[in-house]
């Protein structure tokens, strides 16, 4: 017997799923702050050309008279070693970062989900093959792997994305595999089979909807980590190359002028922190709201 008479038990006024989820979300200040931060990052990226006070700073503009300018009213985040407005470059940097998130997760997540579904549903040899392959991929140190790939293919944004994608799907495979394994014990899977449903139907219509909450939380949390990993690659010179305004590259270049020109590395660094903080808070909030365990 349940202790709390859940709203669903009262015929007259069931609170919808959405209403309950929204209630939990709106009562969670961290989640609301996270959502606001994420929205600010997305707006900055989308409207960078209009928001940036010096759009030309995104390119290879050189203005040696203004190099190493401290933060001021005209240049909020100061200027860098060739006199470009750092605030404008940060806004454009978010475009690169979010582009990377969309590219990496857009490829890695569907691939990871598919493998996880197949492994969990079919079991046996399929499961063994997929999960052992996943284990091997998980065992590779990510930075060494990225290093190898970019060394072979030449360092640029696309190759950095390929490197991250190759490693990223594994986590989704494991997550989905675990959920599907748990769901396989439920009678609705057998009931669908007894109804004559095809494998594709059971995989994508019956099992996949039960993974959606977990996936959305995982993807949100992932977004922050992809930004961080991409910035790390750029910082090491394996990712985005100058003059493209990437946050990691900016931190890397700026760090040569520490500590006196601190803003050149610290403020782009804080911009990275800001985005990751937003995605993590939002992800945790979604986890509470959708009540999933990762």
């Amino acid at each position: 017997m349940t202790l709390l008479a859940s709203p669903a038990e009262h015929e007259d006024a069931p609170l919808s799923n959405r209403a309950m989820a929204w209630y939990r979300f709106s009562r969670n200040p961290a989640a609301v702050v996270g959502a606001a931060i994420v929205i600010s990052v997305i707006l900055a990226a989308v409207f960078a050309p209009w928001l940036a006070p010096y759009p030309e700073a995104a390119g290879s503009q050189v203005d040696f008279r203004n190099r190493h300018g401290a933060p001021s009213l005209t240049h909020w985040f100061g200027t860098d070693n060739v006199g470009r407005d750092i605030f404008s470059r940060v806004l454009y940097g978010y475009r690169i970062s979010l582009g990377m998130v969309i590219g990496v997760l857009g490829l890695a997540v569907p691939f990871g989900i598919l493998l996880g579904l197949l492994a969990g549903y079919f079991g046996g040899r399929v499961e063994w093959l997929i999960m052992r392959f996943t284990d091997v991929m998980l065992a590779l140190p990510p930075l060494a792997m990225a290093l190898a790939i970019t060394a072979v293919l030449s360092p640029n944004l696309i190759n950095a994305m390929i490197a991250i994608t190759l490693l990223w799907w594994t986590w989704h495979t494991r997550l989905i595999y675990r959920i599907v394994k748990g769901q396989m014990g439920e009678d609705y899977v057998e009931a669908a089979r007894l109804a004559g449903a095809s494998h594709a139907h059971i995989l994508f219509r019956e099992l996949l909807p039960n993974c959606v909450s977990a996936i959305s939380v995982k993807v949100t949390l992932d977004a922050g980590f992809v930004i961080l990993f991409g910035a790390a690659l750029s910082f090491l010179g394996l990712g985005v190359q100058p003059p493209t305004p990437d946050l990691g590259t900016m931190v890397s270049t700026g760090s040569e002028y520490l500590p006196e020109h601190w803003w050149e590395s610290m403020l782009p660094g804080l911009a990275i922190l800001w985005a990751i903080l937003g995605f993590n808070l939002l992800g945790d909030g979604l986890r509470d709201m959708l009540d999933v365990e990762l």
Binding site: A5, Y23, A195, P209
Partner: protein, 571 residues
């Protein structure tokens, strides 16, 4: 309200609950769940609190033992006095001192109440040690151990040393329930609260547990029994409180309540209990005698996977030489306790598991051959025990009902017009088509599951304990629906259950399974009126009934017979 201060005119009351009001606040809405609940338990008395799920009996229990979660719960008013002391205003440390020593509790689920990774002795010893710490005394390890052994002997567990060194998983359900009771007794409480004792166990085991509780009361314990089972109440309680929607609607001595229930809810509750004997027993007949489904000495063995090291274990024979013939129009009951092989049998009927030897035939053709054809699914369907699991939580009702139709080859338009029909057949409003399962009650969900089974117009529906997850009142309506549908569509049911009293009122023929084999089968009236096999007699005798007349007509079982056939729970 303060008419009877503790200890004045009702000196013997050990527990008094007065005018208790409790509410819960969820998602910003407060719902009052207890309204002015008053009850008392006298010294050495057995009191039952009865009600359906959601009636507020668990909330009452939690308020008494002090484990009500606040928030979301809040106690808006009332008193709870234990041995004359007000519990609601008691400080935390004083309250803790009462735990185990004053009042103690046996929870419902014998497995969930244990920590799976600690041995029984460790878990029991913890209780004694912490009680010692609270009382400020120290006892040697050996004396504590002796205390554990003594307590286990009080609950009639033999082989106490083995029990103590076991992990919970290694004990049978009945033994776990006994250990749980022993744990509650460790600090010699004066009041024991039992939440659905033995409900999760087989009837024969449950009967032994109830007998044990009765013996403990004879030794001076007071008992507050929380249950939904009227049969258990009749066997166990001196006084009864009936609860509905958070209110005590009727209370009184057991005899007067069972002989002349005054509140309509109590009467409804009593009427919904399927009678075992007497005129109220519903007779289900089948006039036809066309053979439809037959099992010919079907056996199924399970072979464990070969371990990495060591030898394969001997195969387990789950179903042993079972022969059954089911005619068209039958409601055929397959009865048995857990582990008797009835579920394996059902899976073989459905072609989900192949017999190791023997054959299942549907209309003369072997099922394992038919199962490969897609048309087979249109002839045999299943309704599962738990609709919470058999319905996909993330899909709307209409989407779920559409699946079998789509794979039966219906067009989109045909499916769209069929779904409202199906909902109507099972008595659900059309508006439920767009709902998700969690927006329906348990009984409504089971109706959806029945509609799904009906959708392809099968000849046979296998019902795997379709009502055991439902309250008795709901159970009755679902059974009526099933019988109605059978009459309308000429269906044949195979009803798998451990609930013999329901089987008595639902089936025209019954087979009783015992350790994988059918020990007795025949038409329902004969089997219940004159059971031949000792196990059948023991099983029927163990069913809690709600009237003396029924009790008197139960088959006689000698002690020797019972011990010979029952799996012992004492170790």
């Amino acid at each position: 309200m303060k008419g009877s201060p503790a200890g004045s005119d009702d000196r013997s009351a050990i527990l008094e609950v007065e005018h208790l009001d409790i509410g819960f606040t969820n998602y910003g809405r407060r719902v009052q769940v207890l309204h002015d609940v008053s009850l008392s338990v006298g010294q050495g008395e057995r009191v039952a609190l009865i009600g359906q799920s959601g009636s507020g009996k668990t909330v009452t229990m939690r308020a008494i033992i002090g484990t009500l979660a606040m928030p979301p719960g809040d106690i808006a008013g009332g008193n709870i006095r234990f041995q004359g002391r007000e519990l609601l205003t008691l400080g935390k440390s004083e309250r803790n001192r009462l735990k185990g020593g004053g009042l103690s509790i046996v929870l419902q689920d014998p497995l969930l109440s244990f920590n799976p990774v600690l041995t029984i002795s460790r878990q029991m010893d913890d209780i004694v040690r912490y009680a010692d710490v609270r009382a400020g005394v120290t006892r040697s390890k050996r004396r504590r151990r002796q205390h554990l052994v003594d307590t286990l002997e009080r609950v009639q567990l033999a082989d106490t040393e083995r029990v103590l060194s076991s992990w919970p998983m290694q004990l049978s359900g009945g033994m776990r329930q006994r250990v749980l009771i022993a744990m509650a007794l460790l600090n010699s409480p004066s009041l024991l609260i039992a939440d659905e004792p033995g409900t999760a166990l087989d009837v024969t085991t449950q009967q032994e547990i109830l007998a044990l509780l009765n013996r403990l009361v004879e030794d001076g314990l007071s008992l507050l029994l929380i249950t939904h089972n009227l049969g258990v109440v009749r066997e166990m309680a001196d006084r009864v409180y009936v609860m509905e929607h958070g209110r005590i609607v009727e209370s009184g001595a057991r005899e007067s309540l069972f002989d002349a229930p005054s509140h309509p809810y109590t009467r409804k509750l009593m009427a919904s209990v399927p009678p075992l004997y007497g005129e109220r027993v519903r007779k289900v007949d089948n006039t036809g005698s066309t053979p439809l489904l037959s099992l010919e000495s079907v056996t199924r063995e399970f072979v464990s996977e070969r371990p990495f090291f060591g030898k394969r274990r001997a195969p387990l024979r789950a179903v042993d030489q079972v022969s059954i013939d089911i005619d068209k129009g039958d409601v055929f009951g397959i009865a048995g306790e857990s582990g008797s092989g009835k579920t394996t049998l059902a899976r073989m009927l459905l072609g989900l598991t192949r017999p190791t030897s023997g054959v299942v035939r549907l209309g003369g053709q072997p099922v394992h051959e038919l199962a490969r054809q897609s048309s087979f699914r249109r002839r045999l369907q299943i309704v599962y025990q738990n609709p919470g699991s058999s319905l996909n939580p993330k899909r709307r009702i209409a989407q779920q009902l559409a699946v079998p139709l789509r794979y039966a080859g219906l067009t989109r338009g045909a499916i769209r017009s069929r779904i409202p029909e199906l909902l109507e057949q099972v008595g659900l409003p059309q508006s439920h088509a767009s709902r998700y399962p969690h927006e329906l009650s348990g009984g409504q969900k089971q109706r959806v599951a029945i509609a799904r089974a009906l959708s392809v117009e099968p000849e046979i529906i296998v019902l795997d304990e379709p009502t055991s997850a439902l309250d008795v009142l709901v159970q009755e309506t679902v059974v009526e629906l099933l019988l109605d549908l059978r009459k309308q569509y000429g269906l044949t049911y195979v009803f798998i259950s451990h609930d013999l009293s329901l089987m008595r009122n639902f089936c025209n023929r019954v087979a009783v399974m015992y350790r994988g084999a059918v020990c007795e089968q025949g038409d329902t009236a004969t089997l219940f009126d004159a059971p031949r096999h000792a196990y059948t007699r023991a099983l029927i005798a163990a069913i809690p009934v709600i009237s003396d007349a029924e009790e008197a007509r139960k088959p006689a079982v000698t002690r020797l017979e019972r011990e010979a056939v029952l799996v012992s729970t004492t170790g």
